[in-house]
């Protein structure tokens, strides 16, 4: 008996190692070296326009970052953007998944249409929304004027109070389909028997949702929250295409600051340190989500 268990244990371990190895092989080559290199770079004071002097500063770069008010502005911008994007995307995705989980004529067509935003490359997405928000010719202004909700064309992206939200809107539009699909996939694993039992017990739609659907969706929700947070917190493409950190510093997020420090200020050390700060925040948030949702992992 113990012997059998012993062999079993060894077999499990070996199989696991073999099954997991291809992943690590791929990741090693491409992902690990850049990550290590980045960290190494962050420990030095590297300014490309001063290549002859690259002193080792340990965590000096990190200290400078935390003392920089621009950094804290970026943190605030990133937080607002991430919270808005993740929460609205998740809520919308939940509604859409619930809708698509019902059987009704035209569902197939609808689920195909859902894919349109997801299929749009971020550059096309950014340009399209920039065009829609245009203060001179934009569709948004056009519709609102025709509906009579506003009198004249107003500035959307260029208004610092609105900028982050307009960008978030473009991001939500594009990211919602994936989130919806992930939730839907998770919903599909809920057995119909559970719903039937609940109905027999006298539960109405809301109660069924609260007590059957939502708990079973926990893994799906965790997946969505972790993924959405990871990509929102470090989103770059839309900021590059739409606002370049502006107007003023209205859309100056952490990932934008990393770009500026690295490629405009040519301060590779600071840029690398900033990315590690962002990485750490991302990891902690993901860890909290995974733990909080009680994953068996």
């Amino acid at each position: 008996m113990l012997e059998r268990l012993g062999r079993q244990f060894g077999y499990d371990e070996r199989s696991a190692a073999l099954l997991v190895f291809p992943v690590f092989a791929v990741l090693m080559v491409v992902a690990v070296y850049p990550i290590v290199y980045s960290f190494y770079t962050s420990l030095f004071d590297i300014v490309l326009t001063r290549p002859w002097r690259r002193p080792f500063v340990g965590f000096g770069n990190y200290a400078r970052i935390f003392a920089d008010p621009q950094f804290w502005t970026a943190v605030q911008r990133t937080t607002v953007y991430t919270v808005v994007t993740v929460s609205i995307t998740t809520v919308m995705a939940l509604f859409v998944a619930l809708l698509l989980n019902e059987a009704f004529p035209g569902r197939r067509l609808l689920s195909a249409l859902i894919l349109l935003p997801w299929a749009t490359p971020s550059i096309v997405n950014g340009l399209m929304w920039k065009w829609i928000y245009d203060p001179g010719y934009g569709l948004l202004n056009g519709i609102l004027v025709q509906l009579g909700w506003i009198e004249k064309y107003i500035v959307w992206l260029g208004d610092p109070d609105k900028t982050l939200f307009m960008i978030a809107n473009a991001a939500i539009w594009k990211q919602m389909p994936l989130a919806a699909i992930l939730l839907l996939v998770s919903m599909k694993s809920i057995s119909n028997d559970l719903y039937r039992a609940a109905t027999v017990d006298g539960a109405n739609v809301f109660q069924r949702f609260l007590h059957v659907t939502l708990p079973a969706l926990k893994p799906g929700l965790m997946l969505v929250l972790v993924y959405e947070t990871m990509i929102s917190i470090r989103h770059f493409d839309l900021f590059l295409i739409m606002t370049q950190g502006g107007p003023g510093d209205a859309s100056y997020t952490l990932s934008w600051q990393i770009y500026v420090e690295t490629f405009r200020n040519l301060k590779f050390g600071i840029g690398a340190a900033l990315s590690y700060v962002l990485a750490l925040a991302t990891f902690i948030l993901s860890y909290l989500f995974i733990r909080g949702f009680g994953s068996k992992a």
Partner: protein, 444 residues
């Protein structure tokens, strides 16, 4: 092997082998491309691509050298080129903006050409402003690709409709005329400005500052931008009032990039604008702009403290990498290339320079070409005559903020400018932050 199912193992192996084979095939396709001999690696941004390509074909035919021509969109050019330079990619010749010269030179990414007589001899034919823009610490780093300046352009039709007979000569007159145009209801925002955070913003703002008779820094390089009466504060004030008080500039201007502004100007919706002179070709082309034929340059308006019109000029040039210069063959090839493109081609003509002008409207640095009848005809056709342009070119001043810390300073400056445009900071406060950053960077 503990995976006891033999069929399963072999299937996975087959899959992996297939993937590997496909990968190797894809990689092999790449390797064969590299196997071709002598190649010159030329990197540029995506402007005048067809013109450059045609000149590359001519070069390849004339010299039997192969050119590997890569181009990136302008907005991503610096990022891409910095990555490649840091990554030691094989680059021989690249386009560089004059603003980046000190940074790139300090970083060791550009080679001097003072010791290359085949190239330096062209300085004799080049406008002094151009040659000086390629000097850093007394050494020359390239040959000009093109040189330009900011022009003040007005729409003749709109002015006529508003009953204005002569274009403005001072910034105060610009306000007057704009208000008059606004009152007659011809256009809502007569003065068009591209105030988005763009690579062009520093050039637009320098034109504003210089035309107000001012400078950012003095001859010694110390910041004078925060001082009243030195131009920056006055220019900033003019723009702020134009947007918020007189309302002759659209509030959406903070998100208007240079290209968007061009479209708007070309569709005849504004009366005045500051544009790079090379845009005149497209602006007056009926197949590209509805306002074609109506857009004319006039001398840059003067600020109250200015004695004469002034504007900002810039050049972009061909630079050679030290890696290319260190290798004898690569050096020889790169020199041939730079001569063919930045100087005369093997036929003894400034072919590309003329081509860039007639096709795209890019002004050149080569003074002898100005007397060419085709060139004169070009300016007559597309700008209503070349006199104003020549006059303005003579007043063009190089950006005085070009320094090894330009990149970083520019970030602060851009944010400061925008805070002025958004009326979230006074011109004095914003200029002070610019000056502060300059002092900080210069001192360190």
């Amino acid at each position: 092997m503990s995976l006891s199912d033999p069929r399963s193992v072999s299937r996975r192996t087959v899959l992996k082998a297939a993937a590997a084979t496909a990968a190797i095939t894809v990689a092999a396709e790449h390797r064969s491309a590299w196997a071709q001999a002598p190649t010159i690696n030329f990197t540029s941004w995506s402007a005048a691509v067809d013109q450059v390509k045609s000149h590359v074909s001519a070069f390849e035919k004339a010299t039997n050298l192969k050119v590997n021509y890569e181009n990136f969109p302008w907005a991503q050019y610096r990022t891409s080129v910095v990555t490649r330079l840091v990554g030691n990619a094989p680059m021989d010749v690249l386009w560089v903006s004059d603003a980046w010269l000190p940074e790139f030179a300090e970083a060791g990414w550009l080679a001097t050409i003072d010791d290359v007589p085949e190239l330096v001899k062209y300085n004799a034919d080049a406008a002094p402003f151009c040659t000086q823009s390629m000097l850093y610490k007394g050494k020359q780093y390239g040959l000009a690709y093109y040189g330009d300046h900011m022009s003040f352009v007005y729409n003749t039709e709109i002015l006529a409709k508003a009953g204005i007979t002569t274009p403005p000569t001072t910034w105060a007159e610009v306000v007057e005329q704009s208000l008059k145009i606004k009152q007659t209801g011809v256009v809502e925002y007569p003065m068009l400005m591209a105030l988005a955070i763009d690579t062009w913003l520093i050039e637009f703002m320098s034109a504003m500052v210089f035309s107000h008779g001012g400078r950012f820094v003095d001859a010694a390089g110390s910041a004078i931008m925060a001082e009243t009466g030195k131009g920056v504060v006055e220019a900033a004030n003019w723009i702020r009032e134009a947007i918020h008080t007189h309302k002759i500039v659209a509030p959406g201007a903070v998100e208007t990039s240079e290209i968007t502004a061009l479209r708007a100007l070309g569709s005849g919706q504004h009366a005045f604008c500051i544009v790079p002179t090379y845009r005149l070709r497209a602006l007056n082309d009926p197949s590209q702009a509805t306002a074609a034929g109506k857009l004319r340059p006039t001398l840059m308006p003067k600020g109250p403290n200015a004695t004469a019109s002034a504007t900002c000029g810039w050049i972009r040039f061909y630079g050679m990498t030290p890696g290319a210069k260190a290798n004898a063959t690569r050096r020889a090839n790169a020199v041939k290339f730079m001569e063919f493109f930045g100087g005369k081609d093997t036929g003894g003509n400034y072919t590309l320079q003329k081509l860039l002008l007639t096709d795209v409207g890019l002004p050149f640095c080569t003074t002898p070409l100005s007397n060419d009848p085709e060139v004169k005809a070009f300016w007559t056709r597309w700008a209503g005559g070349g006199d104003v342009i020549a006059q303005q070119a003579a007043t063009a001043v190089k950006k005085d903020v070009i320094a090894p810390w330009f990149g970083e300073w520019n970030e602060t400056a851009n944010a400061a400018w925008q805070s002025i445009f958004l009326n979230r900071a006074t011109p004095q406060a914003a200029a002070a932050s610019m000056a502060q950053k300059w002092k900080e960077l210069r001192g360190s």
